[in-house]
């Protein structure tokens, strides 16, 4: 694998000697994790800790007639068996709506179901015992009598008058609808030379984290304080919600988030079983641990992407795209997820379709319906893969119709690189994107013309390969526009505190979190570079609401762009404060001094003047030697949130090169390319691996991953043998290149990179498969592209 890189040349505070910015440096937490000294929630053992197991509904929709717990309570090791009704005395229900998503409705959801279960896997009782095994043994003896109700499973008929309404109080099964109409769509279609329509179908899938969801809740009755150890992306959000529903003050809740084995958006939500675990600890006045097993993960971790989207594109014979129109339908399970809601993905689809292109004519409808399946919510690249697959699928279909090369039609329609700032037809504001530079770079990296020649030569030998291109835009660095304006107490700002300790090392506390993507590393790189100290002197602390500034955490590609800027600004203040003290000690002026390699030096000749350790010694132990009136402040805190733009959009383009076996329907991925523009790159390796990891999750959606439900709402492949995650054996080499357009909203200039890979990978693969299928008169617009789907399309079976 190779990686095309460019070092940003536009930095100010960062463009200093020995800067770590733009450099691949080893992650500070690697040794700890590699030596098995990580601390995941499962590793945490507390005195008197009990284990919770949830008895889960085998039915997709049923009334709970009765729960008989007496036999289970007699089982060895059992501490308590708790029903939803009993737990409701400790924890209040919630409703997953946001006020800025107009009309979004949902029903109250309880930590453990009361009276009625609404999906297969919803908890009906908790068994708390001395060990997980004992709790599972006892759970087999809890007898629940159900009266099965009609399960609403097919999103296409969920709104039919004949379909029962899941929550009678809501009146119907429609959770949310958004309609958008911009420009003159009807006229544009009328003036088009060709109009192409297709229905795009996306399989429901999930984000499979290596470490399942896990929580230890420890209610300390003596302190009247709850400590929650949880693998979460947003500790302060968890603190707020736990306090709200357990009727505590936020100061009574501490959330500690140590090492996390992958999140991908799965761990940014509030799950009923986690709320139940907090409540069980309060009820039983002892620590309670819940670790989801793999079957529970498949049945209760949020699912995503279950969309059916009709799309329409109008195009002139010269390749001009005249208009896009979509009608998107998605089924989200029985409740809108809390607190971020399950309307965001459909809303994003409406926002993002057509986003890379010039045309201002765009009409969209998105409908979000309830159904009796597991809840759906935000998973990596929320909405992007749907929007990208629909947009790029339509663009390719249009190109095919007018016999234009897929690269050429994009060249003619992508927003020009000098057209910024500008806005999309859905109203998104773009500060600066680089579609054409990215496409040019991609074409060069993949040697597009040579690949087309190879493709043609192989066709003759009955070898059918395809090339697929997908341009995309990516939402990163979200401001309060994402959740805050809708009333959710999810912070969009982040804070960082840095302080110089008594030996000249730095302790940095940040409100962003680390789940494996390198937040700790990028923070240390920024702090080290800005201050002028080596990274090994910087210790970064994250994931503890008692010990970090208040902030949003790490999700929606915000850690580097927002948390990183807070780190930069805090460190600039610390640096100034250090230089002020140094100039007092050295009888110099701050402007003549700098900090390089852990020492204060002369700006002019770089000569070392005083080591930071010596400066710290004087400040902390001999302040009496400082001039009168000098009060050193060797700790600084700064917060940051973007204010000018609601989101820092990034852009990029992907390409897939694959081979299709016409006899078997198997797709072999041969190569994948990505060029993206996330602004300033802090650590090229971390960015590239974010991109690759994202691509792999997109390729999983394209070829493998699907939660298979039967018509009764039973998830039939809730295990790692039947639910196919993408594995290295099937993955192609992924070449990553960058264009760098820093955002001017921050001094750091970094935008996010977490969604880019996932956003466009499936679209590129689908377009490549259709390119390979071109001589056979069939088009597939459904993922995953299984051999069954392909053979059926080819009418081989």
């Amino acid at each position: 694998m190779t990686s095309e890189r460019e070092n940003p040349q536009t930095l100010s505070a960062l463009d200093r000697p020995n800067s770590y910015i733009g450099k691949t440096v080893p992650r500070p937490n690697l040794d700890r994790l590699m030596q098995g000294r990580g601390l995941y929630v499962s590793d945490i053992e507390l005195p008197r800790m009990a284990h919770a197991v949830f008895l889960r509904s085998p039915h997709a929709h049923a009334r709970i007639v009765g729960i008989e717990t007496s036999a289970a309570k007699q089982m060895p090791g059992v501490i308590a068996v708790v029903s939803g009704r009993e737990l409701s005395t400790v924890v209040t229900p919630w409703v997953g709506v946001l006020s800025h998503l107009k009309g979004l409705k949902s029903a109250p959801q309880s930590a453990i179901a009361v009276d009625r279960v609404c999906w297969q896997g919803e908890a009906v009782a908790a068994v708390v015992a001395a060990s997980r095994a004992q709790a599972e043994d006892a759970a087999e003896h809890v007898l629940v009598k159900y009266e099965e109700l009609h399960a609403v499973t097919d999103m296409r008929t969920a709104l039919d008058p004949a379909t029962p309404v899941i929550h009678a109080s809501l009146g119907d099964n429609l959770a949310f609808e958004r309609i958008h109409d911009a420009g003159a769509v009807d006229l544009a279609f009328a003036e088009s030379d060709e109009v192409v329509e297709a229905e795009f179908v996306f399989g429901r899938h999930t984000g499979v984290t290596l470490e399942p969801r896990a929580v230890v809740a420890d209610w300390n009755a003596a302190e009247a304080r709850l400590t929650i150890y949880q693998g979460t992306q947003a500790p302060h959000m968890v603190q707020n919600i736990a306090a709200l529903h357990l009727c505590l003050k936020e100061s009574q809740v501490r959330v500690v988030c140590k090492d996390v084995g992958g999140s991908f958006g799965i761990k940014v939500h509030i799950y009923a079983d986690e709320m139940a675990t907090y409540a069980l600890s309060k009820l039983l006045r002892r620590p309670v641990k819940f670790v989801a097993d793999r079957v529970e993960s498949f049945n209760t971790d949020i699912h995503a992407r279950d969309h059916r989207c009709k799309g329409k594109i109008g195009v002139k014979r010269d390749g001009t795209i005249m208009a896009f129109e979509i009608d998107d339908l998605t089924g989200i399970g029985p409740y809108s997820m809390y607190p971020r809601t399950s309307a965001i993905e459909a809303n994003q689809v409406v926002n993002l379709v057509g986003g890379p292109y010039v045309t201002g004519n765009y009409r969209a409808r998105a409908r979000v319906v309830f159904q009796n399946k597991n809840v759906m919510c935000q998973y990596r690249a929320v909405g992007h893969p749907i929007a990208c697959s629909v947009t790029e699928g339509l663009v390719d279909l249009a190109a095919m119709k007018i016999a234009m090369d897929p690269v050429e039609i994009r060249r003619r329609n992508l927003i020009a690189d000098d057209a910024y700032p500008c806005a999309s037809p859905s109203g998104l504001r773009f500060e600066r994107l680089s579609h054409h530079a990215a496409l040019a770079k991609l074409v060069q990296m993949m040697d597009y013309d040579a690949l087309r020649a190879e493709q043609a030569a192989l066709r003759v030998k009955n070898i059918h390969r395809g090339i697929g291109i997908a341009s995309f835009i990516e939402v990163t660095n979200p401001s309060a526009a994402f959740y805050g304006v809708g009333g959710a107490k999810i912070s969009s700002q982040d804070g960082v505190a840095v302080r110089l300790d008594a030996q000249g090392s730095v302790i940095c506390q940040t409100s962003i979190t680390e789940q494996g993507q390198g937040s700790e590393s990028l923070t240390a790189q920024i702090v080290g570079s800005v201050l002028g100290v080596s990274m090994d002197r910087v210790r970064v602390m994250l994931g503890d609401t008692d010990n970090t500034p208040y902030g949003g955490g790490t999700w929606a590609s915000r850690g580097a762009g927002i948390g990183g800027e807070a780190a930069l600004q805090a460190t600039k203040v610390l640096r100034k404060n250090v230089l002020d003290v140094a100039s007092a000690i050295l009888q110099s002026v701050p402007g003549e001094l700098d900090i390089v390699n852990n020492a204060v030096v002369n700006v002019v000749d770089g000569a070392p003047r005083i080591d930071l350790s010596e400066l710290a010694r004087i400040v902390y132990f001999r302040p009496d030697t400082l001039p009168p009136g000098v009060q050193p402040e060797l700790m600084a805190t700064r917060h940051f949130v973007p204010r000018e733009y609601p989101f820092a959009f990034t852009n990029g383009v992907q390409a897939s090169w694959l081979e299709l076996d016409l006899d078997t329907g198997f797709v072999k991925l041969l190569k994948h390319w990505v060029v993206e523009d996330c602004g300033t790159i802090i650590n090229p390796q971390l960015v590239d691996e974010q991109i690759r990891g994202g691509v792999v999750q997109g390729l999983g959606a394209a070829l493998f991953e699907k939660c298979v439900y039967d018509e009764r709402g039973q998830l039939t492949n809730a295990n790692m043998a039947d639910y196919l995650v993408p594995m290295s054996g099937e993955m192609p080499d992924i070449d990553v290149g960058h264009v760098v357009s820093p955002t001017l909203e921050s001094e750091l200039g970094a935008k996010g990179a977490g969604e880019a890979g996932t956003a466009g990978a499936a679209a590129a693969v689908t377009n490549a498969v259709n390119d390979a299928l071109r001589p056979f008169g069939t088009i597939i617009t459904e993922i995953p592209l299984t051999p069954q789907v392909i053979l059926t399309a080819l009418r081989r079976i």
């Binding site: 087999e140 793999r294 079957v295 006899d663 078997t664 198997f666 493998f704 295990n719 053979l791």
Partner: protein, 293 residues
Amino acid sequence: MKASAFAYARATSVANALEMLTTYGERAKVLSGGQSLLPAMNLRLVAPELIVDIGELTELRGVAVKGEVLTIGALTRHADLLKSREVAAHAPLLKDAVAHIAHPAIRNRGTIGGSLAHADPASELPACMLTLGATIIARGPGGERRIAANEFFVGIYETALTPQELLVAVELPVTPKNSTHFFHEFARRHGDYAIVGLAAQASIRDGRFADLRLGFFAVGDRPLLAESASKLVDVAITPAVLIEAASALDDELDPLEDQQATPAMRRHLAKVLLARCVSLLLARPDLGAGAPA
């Protein structure tokens, strides 16, 4: 996902294992490599009262050649088969097949005896036993029993073994010098259970099959030694002959539906495999493209 409580005994000898199996019968399960049993127990799909761990019975491990017979102990691990010089020399088909079994971590623990006794119709080794004409050797309270492979597999996870019997070894006739083989399976990902697979062994004389044994798997409730292979023996293979054999094969298949494939897709893929196998073994690229209709 924890197994329900069970008793555990490590067998000290085959006789000791058989004593326990005799006492407990169906309430006991034999633990060999544990690659199928333990997940099933953790999912609480099975809840044996007693686990009889035969892992220490070293006399059941290893590969030996005696005259024209290759004997493989039941406890021989997949990884050992892959490395065995005897297997490479005398049953090369088996070596090719084992490379398709799951992943290295599983091959390091899983055993041939465990795989055969488990009798998953989608697994590789049962089909190889049919193709290679193996004899399965079981010991029970009444002594040793030799079971022909084609009588051993009787259904999904079902074999001719009684609960009191222990599979101790398999015997394979040494592959003749002029023999050749083919192994391939279609699986969604490397290491997954096959959607359809074929283990074939053949002798070729003057461009024709003198002998052809086709062991299909994942095409029914047990591996299938296709009788339609006979349509391809001692004849000049033309596309028409291949089509006739494929049609005969179709009649023999009774594929199941699962999440990866419908029965129709399995029938189609079995015919694709047949064509590719014949094409490759006879070095006739003209026969390999597409599935014979």
